[in-house]
């Protein structure tokens, strides 16, 4: 049985497991950043990092399966990421108009 995990790249091959491992590391770095960093902008940046890692897995499986759906879904993910960044940054700018926030825990007025 052939190893379907090997992706043809030009004349050579690339192991899909390596690429998935890279996506795995990047996603965990993003998750760690969201949890430990306090600055709201950095948290948004870490969310973008996680979305990029997810995109990488989609592209990897699209290449491994020779199926375009993964790439199309990656494009949709980019749209969602752009929308999320725009709205998130607009909310941040709106908050910073009133006061400086260096710690997301300061924004707890809505807590019951």
């Amino acid at each position: 049985m052939p190893d379907y995990g090997q992706i043809q790249v030009g004349a050579g091959t690339l192991d899909a497991r390596l690429v998935l491992g890279l996506a795995f590391i990047l996603f965990l770095l993003g998750a760690l950043g969201v949890l430990v960093r306090r600055n709201p902008i950095v948290i948004l940046v870490c969310i973008e990092l996680m979305l990029n890692a997810a995109n990488l897995t989609l592209i990897t499986f699209a290449a491994q399966l020779h199926n375009l759906e993964g790439q199309l879904f990656a494009l949709m993910t980019m749209t969602v990421a752009a929308a999320e960044a725009v709205v998130g940054l607009a909310i941040l700018v709106d908050i910073f108009r009133v006061r400086d926030v260096e710690d997301v825990d300061e924004l707890s007025e809505l807590k019951g």
Binding site: I41, A74, L75, M78, V80, A85, V87, E102
Partner: protein
């Protein structure tokens, strides 16, 4: 041919170092610039995986437009530090435990991964603009149109949020002005 592997490893190292830079930088602007490095490295890997159109979109839209928006906001808000108040005890420890558990689950899934056979073996014209366009405008027309509505909603929402909210004193002044107008009438 070992070239794809070399390119992959170089870009993977850049991406991981950039990812470390994102979470370790004290200044938000350095985090944003590290993320740009990650995105450019990933775009090269996309190209390796025969996703030419996604590569172009990643460089132009993501690393270009979205990250410039981030830089704009960072520049607008000025230099910022990192909050030091920790309302949660053992914040670092708990975060690392959560990430370690998540990582252990994902690692376990990666161990037993099995790949099924590719759908078709012809990869000559895979991931080109033509193929992406055909997919977006035939099979996936409905989700494609939905993303346009999503972008419209996001744009309207961003304009609404950033239209310049009135501060409390401005509201009071305007109410007084209205009251005077009423008196005149």
């Amino acid at each position: 041919m070992i070239v794809p592997q070399i390119v992959f490893w170089v870009m993977a190292v850049i991406a991981v170092l950039g990812g470390l830079g994102v979470i370790a930088s004290r200044q938000p602007v350095r985090s944003v610039l590290s993320l740009v490095a990650v995105m450019l490295a990933l775009s090269v890997i996309f190209l390796l995986l025969s996703a030419q159109f996604v590569f172009a979109v990643q460089v132009i839209v993501y690393a270009g437009a979205v990250m410039v928006l981030f830089l704009f906001v960072v520049a607008l808000l000025g230099p910022m530090g990192e909050g030091t108040s920790h309302h949660l005890r053992f914040h670092w420890g708990l975060s690392i435990v959560v990430v370690a558990v998540l990582g252990a689950f994902m690692y376990a899934q990666l161990q037993g991964i099995g790949f099924r056979a590719p759908d078709k073996l012809d990869t000559t014209f895979f991931g080109t603009v033509e193929q992406i366009g055909t997919g977006l405008f035939t099979t996936y027309l409905y989700p494609f149109e939905l993303t346009s509505i999503l972008l419209l909603v996001a744009a309207v929402g961003a304009i609404y949020l950033s239209r310049g909210g009135r501060t409390a004193s401005e509201v009071r002044r305007q109410e007084e002005a209205h009251a005077e107008e009423d008196n005149v009438a």
